[in-house]
Amino acid sequence: MPETKFEPWKDPNEKPLIQFKNVSKRFGTFTAIDNQSFDIYAKEFFALLGPSGCGKTTMMRMLAGFEAPTEGTILLSGRDIAPIPPNKREVNMMFQSYALFPHLSVWENIAFGLKRDKLPADKIAARVDEMLKLTRLERFASRKPHQISGGQRQRVALARSLAKGPKLLLLDEPLGALDAKLRQDTQFELMDIQEKTGTTFVIVTHDQEEAMTVASRVAVMDEGRIVQIATPDEIYEAPNSAYVADFIGDVTLFSGTATNRTPGAKTPVMESPAVETTPEEAETPETETVETPEAVAEIGVPAEPEAPVAPETTTPAEPKTEAAPAKPAHGPQPNALGLWLHDKVWAKVFGPRTDIVRQLPPPSDAERKPKPADPETVSTETTEIPEGGITIDWAEGQPPLIALDGPEVEDGQHVQLALRPEKIGISKTKPDAVNALKGKVIDIAYLGNLSTYHVELENGTMIKAQLANTRRISRRDITWEDEVWVSWTGTAGVVLTS
């Protein structure tokens, strides 16, 4: 509940702090904001994320009072703020350029807003000192803005906008001017200060990593419209559109027509003769199709070696078949990260899961042992795919893709399958997976902890697959021009219908 897990947007009794009601903003013929309605709750850290020109800054300037909506109303604590000029609003803004007054010292900058309120001098001094302490700027109080570093300037701007104790603090690309290393530290500092002061923050940014790190909820914007509002993990794991999937992180998108899979019917995994399973190929003691802990790091949660690594080679289908009938109601299947988050973090809040986890049983002793190099033992295993889901015909001469979960579709509907690179395995031999496609390695981007492989399929489609570099370089055997297989499970992708 609220004091344990912060999710006011799920509580119907919670009154939102900010309400946008059918707000539109036009500049001449250009529509910057197109009839948007959404709520922001008290104490939220709300991020407006989008490319430049998507209207996020206009949204913020309407909150600050520098622009007025052309249509619709914006309510702050239930009151329409349209008639209130910016200097009377209980909203403060931290500007992208910081807008520190160059002729005033750090102390005077922070005191500027307080003096406008005609507070007594001792109160102002006390509040300024408090702010200086909060932002660790005590030593620089008498300096002028040009006498301090960029990171310090950023903190002065923050202290100045927080000094008046606004109901709502707007941050316009607050970290844009800082270098990468400083930016990371500052993100955590921002979260810390937000928590300490209990102020509602609305941040505008084009940096998805920044939004994902700091925000409680992220609104992804495109051309004056909010495409999706959700928590960072939902945005990443369950994007509601190709736009969001593409904007947040890396993704490979397959477009095609969907066909509902007939219950009970076995879809041949590989249709083309070229990809027929042969015993030799199936003999893969070390298929590197794993979801790596590094994938977790991608969205800013510390990596954890014990994260469940789902071996996706086979599907002894006991729990899965049980889960299958209930599937459409459940939405996307949690992946390893989701499960790990649940077990490690959310279980303490919510209690154990009530729905059935489609998790594999622990590997048997026999499976733990290194498999003998006997082709016979492996070849007996055929790929058994659970019922339900859809197949997606996406290219001539390529096998259809199978997605076991996702929204309900009609046969023949146009859909897209979005796949994160870390959910795609890559191996030199044909893996025993629900989806496996053959291709050639074109490029390898070495990112330190991970390598991204750009694999070109036979029909020219490029797929990005990621592997954790858990082994030393000498043991990584996939290299340029290699014929490889990319594969993923039936639940790795997200089916997008819009």
């Binding site: 600050a64 009072g65 520098f66 000029p85 910016p86 200097n87 009377k88 609003r89 909203v91 403060n92 803004m93 500007f95 992208q96 350029s97 807008a99 007054f101 160059p102 002729h103 500027f112 807003g113 406008r116 309120d117 002028k144 040009h146 006498q147 301090i148 570093s149 960029g150 990171g151 310090q152 100045r160 906008s161 008046k164």
Partner: protein, 273 residues
């Protein structure tokens, strides 16, 4: 690394010699003892003494100074307002006409400006004197001020004003507390420009000055039309000296400020590292 080639050195040397030799000669010969200006007859400060005895020159100088101070001050206020309107007021009725009236006097031949103002003053029956010169000088120098100030306002970070509003300032106090202190250097140099333009002006003043008021340039004009005079040499030397000292000290001050700022910024970067 950039070096001066012989060609560049030559053109700079010749060019600056051309610009400065006439004035240097003027200054040297102002200390000539002889009444014949072109014949050197030994060092003397005689003409400075005579200049200071010449009541007509002193009166004209006093009038000029009054006109320059008053007109440049009014011009600075009006010009800053006009610049603010040009840069910040957005669209309003007659904006094109307004900006046209700001820029036109910059390129307008002085004879036309002077003539038109004179005809106006006669038309409304205003006696020509100090007041009419002040009005005329204010009008053309406010345009120069507004050009100087508006170029500073354009580069001014608008979000500074928005920050002031955001922190509770009324638009007027935002201007007073934030904008004005920041654009102050441009306003000051606008004032200086207006001041020197007024000190310097001959043509417009000739049209708008009446018999009751004569400015220094008019006085100089009437004496040099007849040829070179040693007293004018002395007067010129004094004016050149004032301007030179003023410009050099102003540039030294701004250079010092710039250097201090750079040093501060370097120190800030070092402190961070």
């Amino acid at each position: 690394m950039r070096r001066l080639t012989w060609f560049n050195t030559t053109s700079l040397t010749l060019g600056f010699a051309f610009l400065y030799l006439p004035m240097i000669i003027l200054v040297i010969y102002s200390f000539n003892a002889s009444k014949l200006v072109t014949v050197w007859a030994g060092f003397s400060t005689r003409w400075y003494g005579e200049l200071l005895q010449n009541q007509a020159f002193l009166d004209a100088a006093w009038v000029t100074l009054q006109v320059a101070v008053v007109s440049s001050t009014i011009a600075t206020v009006l010009g800053t307002m006009a610049a603010y309107v040009l840069v910040r007021a957005g669209r309003f009725w007659g904006r094109t006409l307004f900006s046209g009236m700001i820029y036109a006097p910059l390129v307008m031949p002085e004879v036309i400006t002077g003539l038109s103002l004179l005809l106006l003053f006669i038309g409304i029956g205003l006696d020509r004197g100090v007041l009419t010169i002040i009005l005329a000088h204010t009008t053309f120098s406010m345009c120069f001020v507004s050009v100087v100030v508006s170029s500073r306002l354009i580069s001014f970070d608008r979000s500074l004003e928005e920050a002031a509003l955001d922190l509770g300032c009324s638009p007027f106090s935002a201007f007073r507390l934030v904008t004005l202190p920041i654009i102050a250097p441009a306003v000051i140099s606008g004032w200086l420009l207006a001041f020197t333009l007024s000190l310097d002006d001959l043509v417009i003043a000739s049209f708008t000055a009446g018999p009751s008021a004569t400015t220094l340039p008019i006085k100089i004009w009437s004496s040099i039309r007849l040829g070179v005079s040693p007293e004018i040499n002395a007067l010129s030397t004094i004016l050149i000296a004032i301007v030179t000292i003023g410009v050099i000290s102003a540039s030294l001050v701004s250079k010092r400020q710039l250097m201090r700022q750079e040093a501060d910024e370097k120190a800030a970067v070092r402190a961070e590292a």
